[in-house]
């Protein structure tokens, strides 16, 4: 029998299970199907810091949340409408986040006394009324899977493993999704293990059929494609987009990319990705530590490559001294910090934005560098290209601040026409006309950038280093006035980047707003969603989001001054607010969360509402 079909504008699904249950894969596949179908979407994977925490425990739960809609959306959603829980721990860890009335699909197979105890349940929640607020479907997904695939002669363990595909099939049916893409995917993935492939495909179809056939679900749902800008799209995570951006920057500048990296969560995937594209001329050097990683990247930059180093907060701390050297040497270098929860080891698999001040000030002496941040997973591509452009054109290390949420989250990406991207001009030094002597610290009058003269060119032999140098010649100089001059020049050089950055886009549709909400990085989605909600209530609020954290866009001061209140939501204790307050003496209000998780749009809406209210009361 086929269920009644209801149309929805948006759905938030969360798949949760043990680390080994393949929830990330299920999430990815459902995402892919939704993307191909044409929904707009946003995702939030969430996994434990342990490789595999003990099976069946709360710390071992891994989840994947997907928000898909028939309209443009900005966040993975605050509260799931549907939870798929593969064991008691997954149920317990996630049930509190659901909205009342949400649908819960539970695999009952692991609801044994032992597993309930592991999850901290005294009795099965399926047997009491603790889940009364929800529409619970308790099904033996594992049992049905094992039954469905028994003909393939797999071990019980292997057979049971396909339960995630059963769940995927069931949910695909529930939302009227095709599974053909996934069938093709499984064919590729298990090409060498046909029995496993066939079992997975069978489980997938069995799940779909179970929905279609039984009367478990009275209603199924449809979410129409979203009306988004025309073009070709793909789904992409931030780390992948960032990697592609680096590859693109190499192409646009004609420079080979040299990545020096030491693995660290959540940045390692950039190393993994780049090491797969050697045919782009990329060298991916896994160093002995973060210091060697940036050292080698700096050496490669000195030698005329596009040097890049990728890490997370603790790695940036270790690189600090070498970043200072790069500031002194004035060579291009892209430093990628995929921020995670801190301080120290902190919450390594969670997200945070608490490295902004480290990026700005985390070195000895006056050592300024440009700082750039992406706002969404797909935007990591553009931000990476922009970071490389500044680095190469202005001969400076540049910090690119991504975060764990962007890194692993995904969204549809309208594919750029790479041929149309602007070229990045390395403009290597050439020997001085007339054979005069080469001045490695002569400066471009516009950018204050110095010549970049990789070894190999006769007549440009020169020596540079970390000691203060004489303007022009670059010779060691202890002259007090020269030092003062050079310190101010390095600052002026970074400030000069402001001339080449686009004007700040302020979203204030009617120009009537009195409150401006300003943000940076991955808070873009939640802030945007909250702003929409407020506007839907008929309230005025302006939004601006910074790509450039250093230098700021030239007009930023005027923008801030134009509003009666400026609120800055951040996933830290208010670091951008610190920079803005110092710079513009505007009473920027801090709105902070440090929970290792993105803001909820609902929470943000409430907090912004308070500010709007306060301002209206002040006026009255």
């Amino acid at each position: 029998m086929s269920a009644r079909v209801t149309e929805l504008d948006r759905v938030v699904i969360r798949f949760a299970g043990d680390s080994g249950d393949g929830m990330q894969l299920v999430g990815d596949r459902f995402t892919q199907e939704a993307a191909v179908f044409g929904n707009d979407l946003s995702t939030l994977p969430n996994f434990p810091a342990e490789i595999r925490a003990p099976q069946g425990t709360i710390p071992g739960v891994s989840s994947f949340q997907l928000h898909f809609a028939d309209h443009d959306i900005l966040t993975p959603g605050d509260r799931p409408d549907v939870l798929v829980a593969m064991n008691p721990a997954a149920l317990r860890a996630n049930i509190g986040d659901l909205r009342p009335g949400a649908t819960v699909v539970v695999d009952t197979h692991d609801f044994t006394a032992r597993n309930l105890a592991k999850a901290g349940y005294e009795a099965s929640p399926l047997d009491d009324d603790s889940l009364a607020d929800f529409a619970v479907h308790a099904l033996d997904l594992t049992g049905m899977t094992v039954e469905a695939v028994k003909s393939f002669g797999l071990s019980r363990k292997d057979a049971a493993r396909a339960k995630n595909m059963f769940a995927l099939g069931l949910l695909s049916w529930l939302y009227g999704r095709e599974v053909d893409g996934t069938v093709a995917y499984l064919g590729g993935k298990f090409a060498k293990k046909p029995a496993i492939r066939d079992a997975n495909v069978t489980a997938l179809r069995a799940g779909w059929n179970f929905g279609e056939t039984t009367e478990t679900f009275a209603v199924s749902y449809r979410v129409k494609p979203a009306a988004v800008a025309p073009g070709r799209y793909r789904n992409i995570t931030g780390n992948t987009a960032l990697s592609y951006g680096l590859l693109a920057a190499g192409r646009l500048s004609g420079l080979p990319v040299f990545l020096g990296a030491y693995p660290i969560t959540p940045a390692s995937d950039i190393l993994h990705e780049l090491s797969r594209h050697k045919n782009f001329g990329v060298t991916a050097f896994q160093a002995e530590d973060e210091i060697a990683a940036i050292g080698a990247a700096l050496g490669a930059s000195y030698a005329g490559h596009l040097g890049v180093t990728t890490t997370s907060g603790p790695g940036v701390a270790l690189k600090a001294e070498t970043i200072g050297l790069a500031v002194m040497l004035e060579v291009p270098l892209v430093i990628v910090d995929v921020q995670r929860g801190g301080p120290s080891t902190g919450l390594p698999t969670k997200t945070e934005q608490a490295d902004l001040l480290q990026a700005m000030y985390g070195r000895n002496g006056e050592a300024p560098l440009p700082v750039v941040a992406p706002r969404s997973p797909a935007d990591c591509f553009d931000a990476a290209v922009e970071a490389a452009r500044i680095a190469v054109t202005h001969r400076t290390p540049v910090m690119l601040l991504s975060d764990g949420y962007l890194a692993n989250g995904s969204e549809p990406w309208r594919l750029p026409d790479v041929a149309a991207l602007p070229r990045i001009e390395p403009g290597f030094a050439t020997p001085p006309d007339g054979g005069g002597s080469f001045l490695p610290y002569a400066r471009d009058p516009e950018t204050l950038a110095r010549p970049w003269a990789p070894p190999g060119v006769a007549g440009l032999e020169h020596r540079i280093g970390g000691i203060e140098k004489k303007d022009g010649t670059g010779d060691i100089s202890y002259d007090p006035d020269n030092h003062d001059h050079m310190v101010r020049t390095r600052q002026a050089k970074v400030d000069a980047v402001a001339r080449s950055i686009p004007a700040l886009d302020v979203d204030d549709p009617d120009g009537r707003a009195r409150v401006l909400v300003i943000g940076w990085g991955s808070t873009y989605g939640p802030i945007g969603a909250a702003v929409r909600r407020l506007r839907r209530r008929g309230l005025d609020i302006a939004q601006a989001h910074l790509r450039h954290l250093n230098p700021f866009p030239a007009e930023l001061g005027d923008v801030l001054a134009a509003y009666e209140r400026v609120v800055c939501p951040e996933m830290n204790l208010g670091q951008l607010a610190t920079l803005l307050r110092d710079r513009y003496l505007v009473d920027v209000r801090r709105l902070t969360t440090v929970r290792g998780m993105p803001f909820g749009a609902e929470q943000l809406e409430q907090e912004l509402l308070t500010h709007i209210d306060e301002i209206s009361q002040e006026a009255s």
Binding site: G38, Y233, G299, G304
Partner: protein
Amino acid sequence: MTVTDLPVPTVGDEHGGTALVPSADAPQTGKEFTSDQEVRWCPGCGDYAVLKAVQSFLPTLGLRRENIVFVSGIGCSSRFPYYLDTYGMHSIHGRAPAIATGIATAREDLSVWVVTGDGDALSIGGNHLIHALRRNVNMTILLFNNRIYGLTKGQYSPTSETGKVTKSTPAGSVDHPFNPVSLALGAEGTFVARTVDSDRGHLTSVLSAAVAHRGTSLVEIYQNCPIFNDGAYDALKGRDSAADAIIPLVHGEPVRFGAPAEDGRGGLGVFRRPTGEVHVDRVTPGNAGRVVVHDAHAEDPTVAFALSRLTATGEMTRAPIGVFRQVRRPTYDDLARAQVAADRERRGDGDLQALVDGADTWEVR
């Protein structure tokens, strides 16, 4: 200045360290390799002699000057690059091998040199050094060992003898020093040598061998710091003491030294104990045939390691010099470049649009 006239072996390697570095069009002179910067070491510093030797040696390589890069860390010796009219980088303390790894891997057409001190290389920079050796990145490392921190005015270093009284160890240091040759061999070094600042001939011959070697060549240079550790190597340099103190290693030759014995060669020799270790003994007609014959090319580093242990651990009263080990092993940078080339060969030059597009796309109209 003592001069020990020792031929140092060069592996006839068509893939030598500078095989891919372009050659100069015309003969060069030491003067061309001398920069306009004033040399600023203390009077009598051993660094001067090494600088002179390198400035005279570089032109003999016949490489384009612009394809030579010197990278250093921080320390007195690390000022070296400023005095050479090549490309140079005076970086930060201990990190030169890491930076040089990036340069050497990025560019096969450069001759990459690292200049470092015992503190720079073995204290703060120890990790980068051992990893460079393990990886075998094509570069030549000159480790100026004066057994002291010179630039910071005289604290003990990881090569200072136990009991050393310095500013930071007024009661004498209590830690056991590294033997840089043993350490390098333990770190899988493919070329490990030692020489002395004051012996231009030996120094130059060791440099020749080091540059000829494709991979990481570590050359420990015993260097006198007249200001903070004067005379550290006097025993190896003294007119009377040197002959009995310096143990010259020459590939293919029996390791003999000291005042001549009856057969006209050194009266002292290195012998193997039944258990495999080596020791020094007087050579007699009876035992002359058992003197250890040095084999720098042995695949197994054990014998080189054994020889390294002949180095005095306290006051420097005796030490082998020469090339302890020189074996071929593919270099990190060659292999890394080969992987890039192979991937290009196999898949064609990367198609950015295709990559960006990926496999799973959809069209919105």
